[in-house]
């Protein structure tokens, strides 16, 4: 059951302005499978869910963050070692979408491409008051390499899909990272050989070193 090495644990950080429905989104997602009994013992704001994707079991730890502006600077503490980020905005509030754009910029700057991004436009049940067009948001998401989903925590729409896509991508990314790391480790011998080259051939050592790494 438990995982000694924590290899299947994935951390998703929830970002977005206050009151866009971050928490209700996750509650809706996690509650559907959590039994009532478990609910009462947890009694906290930490939510996790175990899902099976193909052969992979993964434990999603979903970290809620405070959306108030005064806590904005704390972002890095939360997303530092996250595998994925779910950026939530309110489709009836353009400002919250602008906030998401800020988060994306910050995340790409601070943690680069390592983190999987997913943007969720929440409250589509309030379609009459919609201010952020779906096409606009999708276009933006594509331009920054993020998923985009339309959700409604109230109606339970689009939520499973959001987390599933996020989970799949995170698994993919981790496998990629692992293989890249093992490649780097096996390639770790190359520089030693290069050093030997270096002493005999002089300057050409650096070039052959970079070649060895690319292989």
């Amino acid at each position: 059951m438990a995982d000694v090495r924590g290899k299947n644990n994935y951390k998703i950080v929830l970002l977005g302005e206050g009151r866009v429905g971050k928490t209700s989104l996750v509650l809706r997602y996690v509650n559907n499978t959590f039994s009532d009994k478990q609910q009462t013992t947890i009694q906290a704001s930490f939510l996790s869910k175990r899902i099976n994707i193909g052969e992979n079991t993964c434990n999603l730890a979903i970290w809620d963050t405070a959306g108030q502006e005064r806590f904005h600077a704390l972002g890095p503490i939360y997303y530092r070692d996250a595998d994925g980020a779910l950026l939530v905005y309110d489709t009836t509030d353009t400002e919250s979408f602008a906030k998401v754009k800020n988060w994306v910029k910050e995340l790409r700057k601070m943690v680069g491409q390592e983190i999987v991004l997913c943007i969720a436009g929440n409250k589509i049940d309030l379609d009459k008051e919609r201010q952020v067009e779906k096409s606009e948001a999708e276009e933006y998401a594509a331009s920054v390499g993020a998923y985009h989903f339309q959700t409604s925590a109230k109606l339970g729409k689009g939520i499973e899909e959001t987390f599933l896509a996020l989970a799949k991508k995170m698994i993919e990314q981790r496998q990629e990272n692992d293989s890249r790391q093992s490649a780097r480790r096996s390639g770790g011998n190359a520089p030693i050989l290069v050093v030997a080259d270096d002493t005999s051939n002089g300057g050409s050592g650096a070039a052959s070193g970079s070649k060895a790494c690319n292989c």
Partner: protein, 513 residues
């Protein structure tokens, strides 16, 4: 010291049995009886593996009596930690674990007696050792076939064992961390005026009763010596916030939007000692692969709250900037008097600057101390003192000093103390603590050394005199109210380098006014 253990254990048994019988939890009684038996046994055989664990438990046992209202979950968690730990020790003492045991003991010994490393190096060394040990344990017949959950618990106990045994070396290892700790304590003291309104905590989310428990849990954290026990305290504090009836009336889950402001407020109320060092300690020494779940989540929130408090200004609060500045300044005055007060009181010739480098002396140290004061303070085997001893010594000296001011002999006192105080500050021959009245005469001249211009500059204008003593006695209360005393006492008891950070923060606070 250990002879008290059986009687204490018995009273706890009664207390627990009463509680448990109402719950008809017979199984738990058996469990607690077992741990009591283990405690008594360890008190008798005094094995090195048990000794540390036991002394820690004796301390926390006293705490437990004080805080009977602490939630069951917390006790259950502590109980489980304890039985896990005992199981780990028992396994390690098995004959076929001798190789692991030897490695473990050798590491602890080498680490404690070897050269001091910087924080980064310490972390690497300890983490690497723990990872190696974990691999060996998981391949060992004792742990190999256990369920993953039991394996995780065993590894947590390993971490607890190692970090506790080398705690003195790895906790707040440098001046930087000590300085940061003291600065935060000062800062929070200056921010005492912040209320729930300033953080926009809605009235419906307020619950003083649960908050009080939260505050206590955070304050206890500093007494724990391993990351996992500290995390338990954080978990406890957070659960009290989350389970507060008013906050949690409608939902079973509290959003971070509601949670974090309350946590910030709790930290401000608690002003826990050594908070930054505790956060660093946990993030450095808690196994990264096992630092998951609820505990990690709340830990991160606490780190966030700390960062928020360290960096906050009027723009981050719902308060007029001018009012914020004014309130900060008014708190400054209290702190300023606190610093001058401390520099006069704390830097005494009796400070044991090198307690860490010498093995602790045996139980006859109190008798020894009396003798020590008679033939000067040259005994190099200065023993390390517990928090309680320091506290009472401090108080006693204070009272004696007050008396001294009225009918003391200034010339004679000055002569003897110069060398003593110098020795204490230069960290040469570490002097001993003493309860003897004649030593208290040395205190006054020390004040001059403490507030010497070379260190504190012109900011300290405090000149010691007999008439000041009663006033200082009065001040002690204010300091205790500030909640600033305990950490300072402890640090001064532990290491002489503590003097430095106080001077620095003292100068900083002084220059701000």
């Amino acid at each position: 010291m250990y002879s008290n253990s059986p009687t204490k254990a018995l009273s706890r048994e009664e207390w627990q049995a009463l509680e448990q019988s109402s719950l008809k939890a017979v199984g738990t009684i058996v469990g607690s009886l077992k741990t009591i038996l283990g405690e008594v046994q360890s008190a008798i055989d005094g094995n090195s593996f048990h000794q540390n664990n036991n002394s820690g438990d004796l301390y926390s046992e006293g705490k437990r009596h004080e805080e009977t209202e602490v939630q069951d979950s917390f006790q259950a968690l502590a109980q489980q930690r304890k039985s896990d730990y005992e199981d780990f020790i028992a396994c390690m003492r098995q004959a076929n674990a001798w190789d692991l045991r030897t490695r473990l003991q050798r590491f602890v010994k080498t680490f404690n007696e070897g050269p001091r490393y910087s924080r980064d190096v310490s972390r690497e060394v300890v983490q690497n050792f723990l990872i190696d040990m974990e691999n060996w344990m998981l391949q060992h017949p004792i742990w190999m076939n256990r369920t993953a959950e039991l394996q995780i618990r065993a590894l947590d106990s390993l971490e607890q064992y190692v970090t506790t045994r080398i705690h003195k070396r790895i906790f707040a290892p440098d001046m930087m961390s000590r300085k940061r700790d003291s600065e935060l304590r000062m800062r929070i003291a200056r921010l005492r005026f912040i209320g729930p309104d300033h953080l926009d905590i809605p009235a419906t989310n307020r619950n003083d009763e649960s908050w009080e428990k939260s505050v206590k849990a955070l304050q206890v954290m500093s007494e724990r010596t391993s990351p996992i026990e500290k995390l338990d305290c954080i978990l406890e504090a957070s659960r009290h916030i989350c389970s507060a009836p008013t906050l949690n009336g409608l939902h079973t889950t509290v959003s971070a939007d509601d949670f974090l402001p309350v946590l910030v407020y709790i930290v401000l109320r608690a002003n826990p000692s050594e908070l930054p060092s505790n956060i660093d300690f946990i993030s450095d020494y808690r196994s990264r692969s096992r630092n998951v779940g609820e505990a990690a989540y709340f830990f991160t929130h606490l780190a966030g709250a700390l960062h928020f408090i360290e960096t906050l200004d009027a723009t981050r609060l719902s308060i007029e900037p001018s009012l914020f500045d004014r309130l900060m300044e008014s708190e400054d005055e209290n702190i300023y008097s606190f610093v001058t007060d401390l520099s006069s009181i704390k830097i005494t010739p009796e400070i044991d600057v090198s307690s860490q480098d010498f093995p602790p002396t045996s139980t006859n140290s109190s008798a020894d101390a009396g003798a020590g004061s008679e033939h000067g303070e040259s005994d190099p085997n200065g023993s390390s003192h517990s928090l309680d001893e320091l506290e009472s010594d401090w108080e006693q000296k204070h009272i004696l000093e007050a008396g001294d001011g009225e009918n003391g002999d200034p010339s004679g006192a000055g002569e003897t103390s110069r060398s003593n105080a110098g020795g204490g500050l230069q960290q040469q021959s570490p002097p001993r603590w003493s309860m003897k009245p004649q030593l208290s005469k040395h205190l006054k001249p020390t004040v001059q050394i403490a507030s010497s211009p070379s260190i504190l500059g012109s900011t300290v204008e405090y000149s010691p005199g007999p008439q000041d003593s009663p006033q200082k006695l009065g001040k002690k209360k204010t300091l205790a109210e500030l909640g600033l005393l305990d950490s300072v006492d402890r640090r001064f008891g532990e290491e002489g380098e503590g003097l430095g950070w106080l001077m620095m923060s003292g100068a900083a606070a002084g220059s701000k006014t």
